[in-house]
Symmetry: C2
Subunit: 357 residues, 2 copies
């Protein structure tokens, strides 16, 4: 009978399969979390783009849909002090696109809704008692972290360097997500803004495994069973998978974005600061080509996003992804389209088959 | 009895162990190649910094030292047309360092010795008939490539993207080296200069495996047996290892560089254009911090190197690596110090043990 040799993460979270669905703000859904948890993996609810009320409702939906454990994820960035001069310069840079699309460059900027973990979210955690709470961009203030820990939740965060892994382990996380450069969406770094210091999954995972005592979850470029087996070989106790779940029917992903992911073998991704002000990996589009993927003119996270929303909406309505954050990891071409439950089960079964043929 | 399941590269090169010693211009030595080939792997002679006469001599040394096959490696860049204005600007940028170190900023620039594959080197290949000929930065002109092929040599080159892997396969290489971003030294890209398009080993290897019919050799961040097993899991038929061999006694590596590699867990690497004009991964030092690792002022490859040589020599004599190209991959901290033969044997034995416990 095939079974997983490394049971550290399985036992820690009370799950059957060492597969974590990546929390993807704006993309993952309660339906995806339910399907993954029901299949034996760890489903996740991403709260960064939800109000506390929305998060409470989605959590209730998940609890009603599965008895399995759930990972509730929060960003924990420090909200920026808006810099009106910088925002005005950013709008000026985008004004030609506004005019091109028939939009008023002087119209009010929609509010961006990426909020960090705070007292209100912490109260929700105390009330809903998710089995796992994960953070992106480091950890929240010690007083908030202590309250989360007191609920009995297992605590996770992502490291993009060995130093970040050590920093997290010293602060008592139960496991570290080693997030290689291949990963889609926002990089999780928090000790240094120098992207060049970040490592690929292949180099990062074994060095993090050697650097910390807690189990390590590999993330970044893991899309099929080959990646799961490779992550285990590098010393990981589980994997976190994002991009592969974006092509499931449970993902809140536009047709336009799905089409781009489907043609991923002909696409390229880059880290870009244009869409939110923080580096995130997405497929190259017109805005990235025009302005350069990393452009210091983009206001601090998450303020860059606001002025792009009208452009994104107008262009998407016309079938164009020119102004859309087309998040994707570097291995989207390896994804196969099926339901989230089927994907979770198949990835696990194929990995087990390879591990113990 | 343990054995390698995937024999494609073993049979192609006539070797016992699926480990290629990376050709490292200026660092690998005939003694290293002899040791690796004698241990059952594929040793390599890097010719980019050798004259034809030196290469002939080193090849003779290797042939006298082992009956095993050998990989002879060449750069195949297009030599740049020197741009006197750019070189003058580069010297001006470096002049303060010259003065600080007591050097004359107006002294003649030493010649840099990175030469591409040409008729003379091709004649050496025809004469010495190495079993494997590998290229970095693409492939040489078709007429030269045809002459190499006519010798019966197996032909290799490195791909940093899926598009480059396809390009190489279409031109008839016998195997593709999938060179992930983690690799130390010069990036092997040749279709696009945009580093952002390049992938980590974890994402690159399986996608290259899916894109080409020839066997794939994984490179970048592979330093221990975990990496070898992971590379096989991703679909590679062999691995190419560089950084781990830099800490062997056979490596031509200064004490200063060795010390930096030994403390690699506390060091960071970056891709930098400063030392030669082409992006290469090295440990961060003063020059990189001062000028920025990627600086467009660096003249075209390999012309940037010349003006740095006096600074490097003077600083190194005083025990400083401030101006040294401290090449390293992203996983140097996983390296263990032993002879090249022992390293080759141990890596293979440990990988086999993990593959078939």
């Amino acid at each position: 009978m095939n079974s997983w040799h490394d049971r550290r993460i399985l036992d820690l979270f009370g799950i059957d399969l060492p597969i974590l669905q990546a929390p993807m703000a704006g993309t993952s859904t309660p339906e995806m979390a339910i399907a993954v948890s029901a299949a034996g993996g760890l489903g996740a609810l991403a709260c960064a783009q939800l109000s506390v009320e929305q998060a409470r409702k989605e959590l209730a939906t998940i609890r009603a849909g599965t008895k399995g454990p759930i990972n509730v994820n929060f960003f924990c960035h420090t909200p920026p002090t808006p810099d009106p001069g910088r925002i005005a310069a950013w709008r000026k840079l985008l004004a030609p696109y506004y005019r091109e699309l028939g939009l008023d460059p002087a119209s009010p900027i929609p509010e961006t809704n990426r909020v960090p973990f705070d007292d209100a979210f912490c109260s929700l955690v105390e009330e809903a008692r998710p089995e796992v709470v994960s953070f992106h961009f480091g950890l929240p203030a010690p007083s908030l972290l202590d309250r989360v820990r007191a609920t009995g939740a297992r605590i996770l965060s992502s490291a993009t360097t060995i130093a970040e892994a050590r920093w997290l382990a010293e602060r008592g996380v139960d496991a570290v997500i080693a997030m290689g450069l291949e990963a889609g969406g926002h990089r999780g770094h928090f000790l240094s803004d120098d992207i060049g210091l970040q490592m690929g999954t292949f180099a990062l995972v074994p060095q993090v495994v050697d650097a910390v005592k807690v189990p390590v979850i590999a993330a970044g470029g893991i899309t099929d069973a080959r990646g799961i087996v490779a992550a285990f070989a590098l010393g990981a106790s589980a994997v976190q998978i994002g991009t592969a779940y974006m092509l499931t029917p449970e993902a809140k992903v536009t047709d336009l974005h799905r089409q781009a992911l489907r043609s991923a073998s002909d696409h390229h991704t880059l880290l870009t600061t244009l869409f939110t002000g923080r580096p995130a990996r997405g497929m190259v589009n017109r805005l990235m080509r025009d302005l350069g993927a990393i452009n210091p003119a983009a206001p601090s996270f998450p303020l860059a996003a606001g002025a792009l929303l009208p452009l994104k909406a107008k262009a998407e309505a016309a079938g164009s992804g020119d102004f859309t954050n087309l998040w994707s990891g570097q291995a989207a071409s390896l994804a196969r389209e099926m339901t989230s439950a089927e994907l979770t089960r198949r990835l696990a079964a194929e990995a087990l088959e390879k591990l113990a043929p």
